[in-house]
Amino acid sequence: MSNPQIEIQLIAVVVAVACAIPGVFLVLRKMSLISDAISHSILPGLVLGFFITQDLNSPLLIILAAFTGIITVVLVEWIQKTGLVKEDTAIGLVFPALFSVGVILIAKNANDVHLDVDAVLLGELAFAPFDRLMVSGMDVGPKSLWMMGLILVITVTLLLLFFKELKISTFDVGLSSALGFSPAILHYGLMSISSVTVVGAFEAVGAILVVALMIAPAATSYLLTSNLKKMLVLSVLFGVFSAITGYWVAHWLDASIAGSISTMLGLVFLIVYLFAPSKGLIAVVYRQKQQQIEVSLLTFLLHLNNHTEENERHLNHLREHINWQKIKAKSVVDLAVRNNLIVINNQVVSLTEKGNDFTSIALDYIITNKDEKIEHLKDDFFLFRG
């Protein structure tokens, strides 16, 4: 593995971690779109920076871009505070407005300069190792690695210092102001960090990858846990994993690195979405099936409870009477037998003592409108699941 290859992966990993941390909070606060919004709303900052310095490569452009990013966040917050529109609507209102200010400024004053977000900011990960940082004539590594490393250190320091405050203000604004932290200051602090991270990462790796690295790992880990600490750790892991495997996929296919990393992020999300233990698609479908059968079981038991006459409790009759298909009937009866709720003598089904108790308590709950208590009943009677 050659030097630039190692450096690209290092940059990708640092950017992934730096994006994953604010990403978790953005996703939890339902503001994940803000990273995409910032990618557009920084244009007026770039244009103003260019007017002041007359130089497309000046660092002032990036500083002003980050500043416009913060303005975006403040405006979004401000519109949303009015309570008249939701978060996503507020974001949708602010960034086109700022972007068009930038477009008008260019059209009016700088039409003969190749000035757009693409030309000034959007980096390409493949070329990042070739833009070196020189300190007194010494080559100390790629510029973007140092820049993103610095942003990452700041982010992690602030996260460690204000973890408790961030946690409370994210989940319970009321409590956090009651405890004396200002949710507004924390919010703006977090958003400023996000804005600086987004702008810095744009310069290093390009827009699409930044948006993907901010949102996808957080969204993926949210499927697996609702514990904030675990979510942060998992997001970082998913981000780093996708960055490195994505790089090697790009190597193998000789394709765009940013594109491959984004694809990996999408794949990881898809796999977790399908297989996550409690929120995953397969788990949900399985649980729904289970609940269906449990409802059928209850219906069946109530039916037995209602009918003392033998012909009503004959196995063949049951199928006709409750109108079940053969397979379903069999699985319900099997479940009932396995749980010792019924006994079958000469094709006639009767409730056992346990079955009787269970059914009458369940019936009580249904009559008194406490359906939700039936779920606990299953634990009390040590019932098997479907």
Partner: protein, 303 residues
């Protein structure tokens, strides 16, 4: 504990992937951007060097996106030749920044500024499609030879000989192009194409060149552009308009439709190679073949 896991994971992955070494043939490794430059450097260097072009046939240099393989090519290159004059977009900045640690050569930069066509929109920018002037391309050849000789002085004589051969071939090309274009009456020399790639060509051979889009293929032609240009075609009785290999046909077909709707006849005279050569191995895959093909296509369609 998780940070430890990440570090272990990284270290293992790094070690696993450390053992794929690139083999070194001992030849100079040269990277070029566009297909024109790849062809040129191959002609000067011959078998003595290893040339790798970043952009393939039919790739639009304005819109080129890097792939992972390009990283290794750039990292291992002894010399990188690029067109410059903003042709390669953001890549030009990358090469300029790389200049401190690598030998990067902008061929466009060696041309005298006063001979370049300035852009009407970009104050300090020039039209980058300089290879359509054969005498500029000869200067490119000379610069490539000098740069190659600098990094590999032991083969300087061979490079010099190759350059001599190639310049003779370019002289022959110039002569044949001139005779071909002579057959076209001067008032018929109007070249309508998808984007402004042929200004140097027009200046050298007395063509009035009109592009539907501006210099950059990243911009889109507006409805007004199409209307204005279709009127121009009718007023000047232009017989044929041309599509380009690296630009979608759609815009030129829209232009043709606009002219036809005004009850005038204009044909699509063929597809010209503008920002990239034809596929490697074909005649149009070389600069000389491409130039001959373009001139024949233009002259035959406009006659």
């Amino acid at each position: 504990m998780n940070l430890k896991n990440i570090i272990v994971f990284l270290v293992v992955l790094t070690m696993v992937s450390c053992n794929n070494k690139t083999e070194d043939s001992g030849k100079l490794s040269i990277v070029t951007t566009t297909t024109m430059l790849t062809d040129l450097v191959k002609n000067i260097g011959g078998d003595l060097i290893e040339v790798q072009g970043l952009m393939g046939a039919g790739v639009d240099p304005h819109l080129y996106k890097a792939s992972e393989g390009d990283v290794a090519k750039l990292a291992n290159a002894d010399v990188i030749f690029y067109n410059g004059l903003h042709l390669e977009g953001k890549l030009v900045d990358v090469f300029e920044k790389m200049g401190s640690s690598k030998n990067t050569v902008s061929l466009g930069a060696v041309l005298p500024k006063e001979e370049l066509i300035g852009s009407e929109y970009f104050a300090s920018n020039y039209d980058p499609h300089v290879w359509f002037n054969i005498s500029f391309f000869k200067q490119f050849a000379n610069t490539v030879r000098i740069e190659l000789s600098k990094v590999d002085p032991s083969n300087a004589a061979a490079f010099k000989e190759n350059e001599k051969q190639y310049l003779m071939a370019l002289d022959a090309l110039e002569a044949s192009v001139n005779t071909k274009i002579e057959t076209l009456p001067e008032e018929d020399r109007v070249l309508v194409t998808a984007h402004d790639a042929f200004n140097y060509f027009g200046k050298a051979y007395g063509f009035n060149v009109v592009g539907l889009q501006g210099l950059s293929t990243a911009t889109e032609a507006g409805v007004q552009d199409v209307q204005r240009l279709s009127q121009f075609i009718i007023d000047n009785k232009v017989k044929a308009i041309f599509v380009e290999s690296s630009v979608p046909r759609r815009t030129i077909e829209a232009l043709q439709a606009a002219v036809l709707s005004k009850n005038h006849e204009v044909v699509i005279g063929g597809s010209l190679y503008s920002d990239a050569l034809g596929s490697e191995g074909t005649v149009e895959g070389t600069y000389i073949g491409m130039f001959t093909y373009n001139v024949n296509t233009i002259v035959n369609a406009l006659k």
